[in-house]
Each structure stands twice: as C-alpha cells, then as structure tokens.
Amino acid sequence: MQRYILGRVVQAVITIWFVSVIVFALARLTGNPLDVILPVEATKEQYEAMAAKLGLDKPLPVQYGIFFMNAVQGDLGESLRFHRPALEVVLGRLPATLELGVLAFLVSLAIAIPVGVYAARHRGTSLDGVARGVAILGQSVPHFWTGIILILIFAVWLRLLPASGKGGIQHFILPAVTLGSVMAAGIMRLTRSAMLDVLGSEYIKLARAKGVRESIVLWKHAFKNAALPVLTFSAVMFVRILTGSIVTETVFAWPGIGRLVVEAVSYRDFPVIQTVVMLMSAMYIAGNLTTDILYAYVNPKIRYRK
C-alpha cells in the first residue's frame, strides 16, 4: 500500500514538473518577451541590458533553471495587464472560484443522489427511464449552452434571477446549477449502479424480511454502503468542476480564475496564463491523486497489484 502511494505521488510530482516544462517551452514559443517589455524605440544596448538582467542571454536550459527556481518561490512573472505579480492576481481571484465550485458540488450531490437512489429502487419503471434519459441528454449538450438557456429562462423571460456578476446569494444560483449539472449526470449514474449492487445483497433481503421500513432500508442500510464509490469518485468530480469553471465563469461573468484565464488569453497576458495553468494543473493532479489513493484504500485489488 505504501509503495503504491509512493509511486503515485512520485508520478504526480513528475507530471507537475512536466507541465512546468510545457508552460516554459510554450512561453518561449510565443515570441521574445523583450518585445513585450521594452518600448518599440528601445536601442540595441537597452535590449542587451534587459536580456542580461532577465537572464535571456543564457542558454535555454539555464533559462529554464531560473524559471523553475523562481516558480518554486512563487514568482511567476508580472501580469502584463494588471502590472502586478501574476500569482497575486490569480490568488486574488481564487476564492470566488472555490466558493462557486463548492456550491456547485453540493448542488450536484443534492440533485444526483436522491434521483440515483430512487431510480435504482424503481429500476425498470418509466421514471427510471426518464431519469436516465435526462442524464444522457444532459451529457450531450455543452454546459455553456445549458448556462445560456438558464439565463434565457430565469433572467430574461421570468426576470427572477440576475444573469451575471457576483453579489448576493441570488447571483450564485444560476452559475452553481450550471456548473453542478456538469457532474450531476455522472454522479446519478454512479449512485444508481452502486445502489443496484447493494440492493441485491442478502442483508437487504434480511432487513426487508424483518419488516424494516423501506425508507430506512434504502437510506440507512443500503445507501451507507453504496455511498462509498460515490465518495471515492468525489475528488475527480471536484477536479472536473474546477476545469468546468473556465466555461461557466465566462458565461456568467463570474470574477474567478476561469474567467481570468480566458480574458488573459485575449490580452495575451502570458504570465497570468502560465500561473493559472500551473495552479489548476496542480489542483487537478492532486485531485486525481486523492482519488487513486482513496480508491486503493477501499479496493485491495488495486493495492496489491504489482
């Protein structure tokens, strides 16, 4: 078990390092950073002085070394748009993304788990079919479009909720439902199949034979065990919500890092893009790692392989 975890951690670290190499290489491909920093009328001497100052006159591997050491210390350059350290800009936007992400996560659980349990209990009925059909349809449309349809219905036609921005609690509803819908279909299908497995087992039959009330059988006896795969999967789901926030924040003009990175793309603000990519990749990789470890913890087959 420890060997397995150690192996996965090493692999995660290598992956993060690899992302840093890609980010560095792509930054160099976008053109000479001096062209952005210095004014057009700068002399050759100014160019060389700035190059020496930033270490751009050194060979590429050395430059990568400098980039890496700076990155480890939290220095990822200065935003070309805000003229502040890129990390500071990104961290300032992070809370908005996390708030929305947590809420979306809760929304998706609140929708998906009852529906999944219910669909499993009434397997094969038309309600089960409708639930599964809606789940498949939900996975077939891009969720930025789901967001736009929600805006159209609740903000434009019914005038119940604000269409964009961040403010009171009512501003959270549409983005959280949109982002939550990214994962709701997956969680619902997972819950349904986990419940089907559990409901077929002997101890459930015994509980029913004893005359335990159906709601207690479902939620206390069965769901307790069926929740395990759903919980194991939750780290992966959070990670997907994180990347899904890029699109959702753009649709709802939500002031988080997702919208920041899309704006940075149009401003060609490369330090900010680099920082968001590094930060999100790190969270993404950490989320996947957590899932792998949780999964190995509950599933000995994985733990003892190799």
């Binding site: 290598i14 992956t15 976008t30 449309v141 699109v247 899309v262 793309v265």
Partner: protein, 295 residues
C-alpha cells in the same frame, strides 16, 4: 417475420441484427447521424442563403412562426442579417468535418504508439506509457487554451489540440490489446518464420485491435464535437466567419434579450448530434464487443 424469430427458426444472430437495425433508439440515432452527414455534404445545395453574407436590412428577424417572421428565413436571422438556418447547415459541415478528421488523426497516432509500446515492450513501453499517463493527468481544456494562444485559432490547430488531449486514450487501449494478441500462436509462429516486426504489427495485430478501436473512436467523437464547440465559444477554436456552432452560440449571447434564436438553435443541433453519437457509440460497443462495457 417477428413470429419466425420468436419461434426460434431464425438464428439468434439474425434476430440480434434485426433488433440492432430496427430497435427503437439506434434507429433514431442512426437516422440523425445519416441526416447530419447528408446535410454536411450537400450544404451548398440545400442552404437557402449564404452562411457568411447577410442583408443588413433584415437583421434579427425572428423565426417564421413568431410575429414579424419572414418565410424566407425559417429560423430567423442574426445581427448581420445572416440566415440562422443556413449557418446551422454549413455549421454541420464545419463541426462534423473537424470532429471526424480530429478523431481519425488521433486514432492513427494513438494506435501507432499503442502498437509500438505493446509489441516492443521493455523500455519503449515504459517511456511511451509514462508519457500517456502524464497526458491523461493534465487538464485538457487548459492545455487547449494555452496551445490556442501560442498557435492561434484555426481549423488545423483544433485538430492538433484534440490529438494532444486524446491520443493517450487510444494508445492505452491498443497497447493493452496488443499485449494479449502478441502472445497468441499465430503471432509467435509468424515471428519464428522471420516476419518483420512492422509486418506483424500491421498484418497480424492491427486487424485484431480494430473493433475496440472503432468503439473508442465512436464514443470519443461526441466528446470532440463538444470540445470543438467549447473552444469556439471561448474564442480559441475555428475562427469566425466560419459558421461553427460554438461560434454561433457565443455570438448570440449578447442578444438573448431580443433574439434568443441565434444561440438556442445551434445548441439544439449540438445536443442532437452528440446524443446520436453517444447512443450509436453505446450500441456499437454492445454489439461489437460486450467485454468493453467498462470504457
């Protein structure tokens, strides 16, 4: 005919075939897909108007069934007076050609890597599969964004992004199957007769991994259609004035108050396409290889 099948006089495989062709859902999905491909191929003939040129006197016309609708423009027009229906029709061409080309290129590359890793084994295998693991553990949409900044938005780069994001899927699947196939007698025999590695991989192993490759490709096309639309929506996909469905949704977003039809119809088109692709993919998987229900 139904009676014959029920009486067991038709072999089971035939009744399965009948079910597959005439069963309710795959029929609908296959019809949608055939219609889509037909529309994409014949866009030039069936589109009533140009997809990129509009009439500035007829901007933001509502669909024909609403008040003020014009029967020349069945689904209305956008802010430049371009016909929404014609743009949807040409959009089918843009979206399907991008998705199919991207999946084809990705499948070819991934298969090659998977065959090499699985057949040669050893260090080649370790290096290639570590790369695939790294690829799988990076957030695809971010890599796509950063590439789009570096390379600029274009049709070619959308294909390249899909290749970079999805090749590990194919490589891992093919490698796994290759490991199984290469231990079989006919491969060992071919090798002992001195057949070259390339010939063994191409003539003996590849045909055996083909079915699962097909399944994976069908299941992934739907994802690529959505990815392409998302990139276009974020402004880093196939650039305007090409009528990509994602671009259309993005363009209509500002006009939800006055002209909801600009954004709504392309989303419906994407939903129908991906739904049909997913249902067909599931169906191909179940028919071709029930072992693959996990992917």
């Amino acid at each position: 005919m139904v009676g014959l099948a029920a009486a067991g006089r038709i072999p089971k495989s035939v009744s399965l075939f009948r079910q597959a062709i005439f069963g309710p859902l795959p029929t609908v999905s296959l019809l949608i897909l055939f219609a889509l491909i037909g529309i994409a191929l014949s866009a030039g003939w069936i589109a009533p108007h140009s997809p990129v040129e509009g009439s500035l006197r007829l901007t933001m016309l509502p669909p024909v069934w609403m008040e003020g609708g014009n029967s020349d423009y069945l689904l209305g027009t956008d802010k430049f007076g371009r016909d929404v229906l014609s743009r949807l029709i040409y959009g089918a061409r843009v979206s399907t050609s991008a998705a199919f080309l991207a999946i084809f290129v990705t499948a070819v590359f991934g298969t090659l890597i998977g065959l090499l890793a699985g057949y040669l084994g050893g260090r080649v295998d370790t290096v290639l599969m570590r790369l695939a693991d790294i690829g799988l553990s990076m957030p695809g949409i971010l890599i796509a964004l950063i590439l789009a900044v570096v390379l600029g938005p274009s049709f070619k780069n959308v294909v390249l992004i899909v290749l970079i994001v999805l090749w590990p899927h194919f490589a891992r699947q093919v490698r796994g199957e290759t490991l199984g196939v290469k231990e079989q007698d006919f491969v060992i025999l071919a090798r002992s007769m001195g057949v070259s590695s390339w010939t063994i991989m191409w003539r003996h192993i590849f045909p055996n991994v083909m079915p699962s490759l097909l399944v994976l490709a069908t299941l992934d096309v739907g994802y690529v259609v959505i990815l392409e639309a998302t990139l276009a929506f974020l402004g880093v996909g196939i650039p305007p004035p090409n009528p990509s469905w994602g671009v259309m949704i993005a363009e209509g977003r500002e006009y939800l108050e006055t002209a909801w039809w600009i954004s709504v119809f392309p989303g419906v088109a994407i939903g129908l396409t991906v739904f049909a692709l997913n249902m067909t993919g599931d169906w191909v998987r179940d028919k071709l290889d029930p072992k693959l229900r996990q992917i």
